[in-house]
């Protein structure tokens, strides 16, 4: 790890202010992704701001019947919350399908949204990667890309977003609450939070420099059958090849969001007006750009969606 200085924030506004005041500063909460990347010198912050003890670790009901999840609520605690298990089962299921028990005890809600891709070329500092080193190229295009993106890609980047939790958050239309360095607060719909790679894959979210996430808010429960189906190369503790988050209503209509397909959780609301796995998948996958190695994801999405719809029917 490269040397850095260390400080503790006293409030969310103080965290944002400190982040903009110190060049090369980063927030650290659970640290499970950041420290991994720092050891590999993929992330080299000059200053770390500990945001763990700001009281952002509670889950509170909102006035409109939803839940406000503090940014520092650990993945285990969010998955285990009785209200989440009862009303937002897809979120609980997505969380426990990710990482290991030890990591879920440490990883936070905001940190999960902000985790970086696991593209092998991002992780290998000897390889070209526009995300790690803008302008250096993309070794994944034409490289080993079996597990990489097929939707929303660009000539600069075909990385996927690794989070399971974020897919469920997208399905549930969550909102990200932040404070900016000038002390103002704002809310960002989850659909607008993660960006497509375009020509700047190093810019991954809508956050401005220093902006600090304080909470993620869930709208009031929508009922239905909640399913998170994750397809992966081993039974546990592996990232998704693809995943399907679904809430299906008794009349068969539903919401569907997908992981492992793109630079962000993928949801096409218009596709949800279609009926049956084949038609829904076709609408979701419209515009897919595949390689010889990852073209299998196209039929895999349709089949996994079919399995999810069958499970929802019971």
């Amino acid at each position: 790890m490269k040397a850095f200085t260390f400080d503790r924030a006293t409030s969310p506004a103080d965290a944002a202010k400190k982040a903009i005041a110190t060049p090369g500063a980063k927030f650290i909460a659970g640290g499970t992704n950041l420290l991994d990347l720092m050891k590999l010198q993929i992330e080299t912050p000059q200053h770390l701001i500990d945001v763990n003890r700001l009281g952002l670790d509670t889950i509170e009901p909102t006035t409109d019947g939803g839940l406000r999840v503090g940014a520092l609520v650990r993945n285990t605690d969010l998955a285990a919350d009785a209200r989440v298990r009862r009303d937002y089962g897809v979120l609980s299921r997505a969380l426990v399908s990710g990482a290991s028990g030890q990591l879920r005890n440490k990883a936070t809600t905001a940190g999960n949204l902000l985790q970086r891709t696991r593209c092998p070329y991002f992780y290998d500092t000897n390889q070209a990667c526009n995300k790690r080193k803008p302008g250096s190229g993309c070794a994944a295009i034409g490289g080993f890309n079996r597990n990489l993106a097929i939707l929303g890609t660009s000539d600069a980047c075909i990385a996927t977003h690794p989070s399971d939790m974020a897919v469920a958050m997208r399905l549930l239309d969550a909102t990200v609450e932040t404070v900016t360095p000038d002390g103002a607060t704002r809310t960002i719909p989850i659909a607008d939070f993660h960006l497509l790679p375009g020509s700047t894959p190093n810019v991954e979210t809508a956050l401005v420099p220093g902006e600090f996430i304080t909470a993620v808010t869930l709208p009031k429960p929508i009922g239905g059958t909640h399913i998170y189906q994750k397809v992966r190369d081993r039974a546990s503790y592996a990232f998704a090849v693809i995943s399907v988050a679904a809430v299906v209503q008794p009349d068969g209509r539903g919401r569907f969001a997908f992981g492992g397909l793109a630079h962000k959780p993928w949801r096409v609301e218009a596709a949800e007006r279609q009926t049956g796995a084949k038609a829904i998948a076709a609408a979701v996958l419209s515009g897919a750009r595949t390689t010889s190695q990852n073209a299998f994801k196209v039929p895999l999405v349709e089949r996994t969606l079919g399995a999810v719809l069958a499970e929802a029917k019971g």
Binding site: M1, K2, A3, F4, T5, F6, I28, G30, G31, T32, L35, D36, K39, Q46, L48, D50, N52, T76, A79, A80, R85, R86, G89, S92, R93, V96, S97, A99, S100, G101, Q102, L103, N105, K106, A235, S236, Y237
Partner: protein, 217 residues
């Protein structure tokens, strides 16, 4: 608490021999000028240490640490509690698992500075050679290891796993999210997936866990 005392100046231990040997080899192999030029410009600044107080196995110790020191390195290199192991150092193998404020975590993937004032239980704090923790005794009884390198992490994780099931924390294999997870081998296996054993003692580890949990399934 004598069993938890830091090892002081070992006369002749395996660890002492390895440490001395490694330093000797490095000094012999790397010419002095190379060592001098490996420091990056930003590392040439004086390293500022920060005060960190850790309550490890019931005993509070005040440390002055480089902020880069992981919790694992603080335990092993500063408190000389070498039971917790460094396997992958990236949170993938679980050999470094310790229990912090009642929850198991990968001590390699967190900074000691993030745990000021926290209560940490390592394998040395679970039991002693004279008075083993029930899970330690069960690992011995069921041959839950071969080389033993992953074992401290496996045992810390196994103890926490049974607690997490009792607390009702769901897992990927939990059937009904609104009910209590089952205390069975399927739940235990899923929850132990963050601990790798290259010797492949998995089935015996599950036997040990079932024994402690008092279940047959």
């Amino acid at each position: 608490m004598t069993d938890n005392s830091p090892v002081t100046a070992p006369e002749l231990t395996r660890r002492g021999m390895i440490a001395t040997g490694a330093v000797g080899a490095a000094a012999a192999a790397i010419p002095a000028p190379v060592l001098a030029t490996t420091a990056r410009p930003d590392q040439a600044r004086a390293v500022t240490t920060i005060p960190v107080s850790l309550k490890v196995n019931g005993r509070t110790t005040a440390l002055e640490l480089d902020p880069r020191v992981t919790l694992l390195d603080a335990l092993r290199e500063h408190l000389h509690l070498t039971g917790s192991k460094k396997g992958c150092d990236h949170g993938q193998c679980g050999a470094c698992t310790v229990i912090v404020n009642g929850r198991r975590i990968n001590s390699c993937l967190t900074l000691a500075a993030l745990h000021d004032g926290d209560a940490i239980t390592t394998i040395e704090g679970l039991g002693t050679p004279d008075k083993l923790h029930a899970m330690q005794a069960a690992f011995v009884k069921h041959d839950g290891y071969q080389c033993g390198y992953c074992t401290p992490g496996q045992i810390c994780s196994a103890v926490s796993t049974l607690n997490e099931i009792k607390e009702g924390i769901p897992s990927h294999v939990t059937g009904d999210l609104t009910g209590k997870p089952a205390l069975d081998a399927t739940e235990m296996r899923e929850r132990m997936s963050g601990n790798i054993c290259r010797c492949g003692a998995y089935s015996n580890i599950i036997d040990a866990m079932k024994d402690v949990a008092g279940v047959d399934a």
